[in-house]
């Protein structure tokens, strides 16, 4: 029998042949991209259940529970309106500043939260990763879905704010749906890329808050986008107008509000939005898949 070779030197070849003869494969080998995607699809129920569980867990110790999903965006909008709308008074450039501010804020928060939690999605789940076998892309994608649920409650708040501040309901509102779908795919790609980087570079978690704050000021969340053209040199203005987050925010504002100042024409916004989405979603997925075997190491 071939397994008599257990303690012999030079047994490598025989054991490998034995493995081949019985159709055994190398443990933990990375499947190819197509097989990986198929695997991920069979785990779709796990992804949604995991994302829902995260939403439940987030507020499980609070007395008001799920109500915080609505209260958190409301409180955020209140604070920023107090500082930027009342104290600093940047409101005069835009007719409906409250709606303008809240739209930008909620759309930005979606990406910002996904990036922050995506970065730690591998590190924070090492126990689960070392115990069970599943495509690791489940974790960052679930982060995106969890935040998507928070976004949906933010949007409910936002629609209330927009209506109260006197915007009419138009067919254009429907454009919000493709905008958020594109942003969700973009965010999923970003979460995947950040998850792999965060698993290797443990210092990244400390840097992310600063990166996100810089990104926020470059996305025209708190003030009118007209400021960019007025105050930035040409090259910097070009960079800012190509900023994917600014693009998604502008599209959301365009969908919900009448007569809103935009940094670029609408056609250009849609083209750039699609390009960014495809680039980051596909790129992030492939980047994450290439590191698949390393994630258990920690």
């Amino acid at each position: 029998m071939a397994d008599t070779a257990v303690t012999e030197p030079g047994s490598d070849l025989q054991l490998r042949q034995l493995a081949a003869r019985h159709g055994l494969h190398v443990a933990g080998a990375r499947p190819n991209l197509l097989a990986y995607t198929k695997q991920l699809w069979t785990y779709r129920h796990f992804i949604t259940e995991y994302a829902n569980a995260k939403v439940v867990v987030a507020f499980s110790t609070a007395r008001l529970g799920q109500l915080w999903q609505i209260l958190t965006p409301l409180a955020n909008a209140g604070v920023y309106f107090l500082i930027f709308g009342v104290v600093l008074n940047t409101r005069h450039q835009v007719d409906n500043f409250i709606a303008y501010l809240c739209t930008g804020l909620f759309v930005f928060t979606f990406t910002s939260a996904v990036v922050q939690q995506g970065t730690s999605s591998i590190v924070a789940n090492l126990g689960l990763i070392r115990a069970l076998h599943f495509p690791r892309a489940v974790l960052p994608i679930a982060v995106m879905l969890t935040q998507f649920q928070n976004l949906v409650s933010s949007i409910i708040v936002l629609v209330g704010i927009v209506l109260i501040t006197g915007e009419p309901i138009t067919l254009q509102w429907l454009l919000l749906i493709p905008t958020l779908v594109l942003q969700s795919l973009f965010n999923a790609g970003l979460a995947l890329a950040m998850a792999r980087l965060g698993a290797k570079l443990t210092d990244l978690k400390q840097i992310i808050p600063f990166v996100m704050r810089t990104w926020m000021y470059g996305s025209g969340v708190l003030y009118s986008v007209q400021n960019f053209e007025a105050h930035l040199p040409g090259w910097a203005n070009t960079i800012v107008t190509a900023n994917p987050l600014l693009i998604y925010i502008e599209l959301a504002r365009h969908a919900l509000m009448e007569d809103v100042p935009l940094a670029s024409p609408v056609g250009q916004l849609w083209t750039l939005a699609v390009v960014w989405t495809v680039l980051i979603a596909v790129g992030g997925y492939i980047f994450f898949w290439r590191g698949e075997q390393e994630y258990g190491r920690g």
């Binding site: 008599t4 257990v6 054991l15 493995a19 055994l24 129920h45 867990v57 115990a131 599943f134 920690g298």
Partner: protein, 267 residues
């Protein structure tokens, strides 16, 4: 070569085809944040300037050239003193720690059941059971159907309705029982158990030993790491003894355990 002698020591006739082949595996792993050396900000800055490696990353050479073959219907115990590389070897078989050299071949996807298999502490036991099943790749309907059986088997409801309480309210024994119940809800071709049986009470230990036997009878292979020699004797007929990452003995449990106990006493 003395083929007859080795054949009698390893895997006698009744076993089926091989399910796990470990071929000259070496495992080195790196630990971040292993304290001790200079971790001050100044030291960190100096490292950035000089480009030297952080002293907080240390390499551990845990497994040094291990080879063996395990078959269908076999239960293999892994024994050895603390830090001998048993758990590391299990992780490599599960495909979670890539070997530095050599290879591990497996049939199907081995699943590792450890005491630290973290589920959600803030979610109730039922929801954890459902998530656990989905994480093992089941469909939603199949998972839903299995949950009551898992709760029943784990026995966490024996002291009231604990299944609907968050897992953070469980005792460590209860949590371990639930984890074992979840992991064993699916039939695995290869199941790796890392000290999980040691945490439950005597009654649960007996029940889990039975479950391991069932799994073995359905042509699965079970690996059991434990310091409780009793449960190794109870469940495994073959034992591998690891010491400092090298195999010291591989054969019938009685024989190997006797050698191991003699070794432990001598030290």
């Amino acid at each position: 070569m003395d083929e007859t002698e080795v054949t009698t020591r390893v895997a006698p006739a009744p076993y089926g085809k091989p399910t796990v082949i470990v071929d000259d595996v070496h495992i080195v792993y790196r630990i971040h944040g292993a304290g001790g050396a200079a971790t001050s900000p100044v030291a960190g800055l100096r490292r950035m300037v000089t480009g030297s490696r952080a002293p907080t990353i240390r390499e551990v050479y845990a497994v040094k050239g291990v080879s063996f073959v395990a078959h269908e219907g076999e239960a293999v115990g892994l024994i050895g003193s603390n830090g001998s590389g048993k758990s590391t070897l299990l992780r490599a078989i599960a495909g979670l720690l890539p070997p530095e050299r050599g290879a591990v071949y497996t049939s199907g996807q081995p699943s590792l059941l450890g005491v630290n298999a973290a589920l959600f502490n803030d979610l109730p036991g039922e929801r954890n059971a459902l998530l656990g099943c989905l994480a093992m790749g089941m469909g939603r309907a199949e998972a839903r159907a299995l949950v009551p059986g898992i709760i029943e088997y784990s026995g966490i409801n024996e002291r009231g309705d604990f299944a609907s309480l968050p897992m953070r309210t469980y005792s460590s024994g209860m949590a371990a029982r639930l984890r074992f119940a979840i992991a064993s809800a699916k039939s695995h071709e290869v199941l790796l158990i890392d000290e999980a049986l040691a945490t439950g009470d005597a009654k649960f230990r007996k029940r889990s030993e039975e479950r391991v036997k069932e799994m073995r009878d359905s042509a699965g292979t079970v690996f059991l790491v434990s310091h409780a020699i009793g449960s190794i004797r109870e469940t495994c007929e073959r034992t591998i003894w690891l010491e400092s990452g090298v195999i010291r003995g591989d054969g019938p449990t009685d024989e190997i355990v006797r050698e191991y106990e003699a070794f432990s006493k001598r030290r």
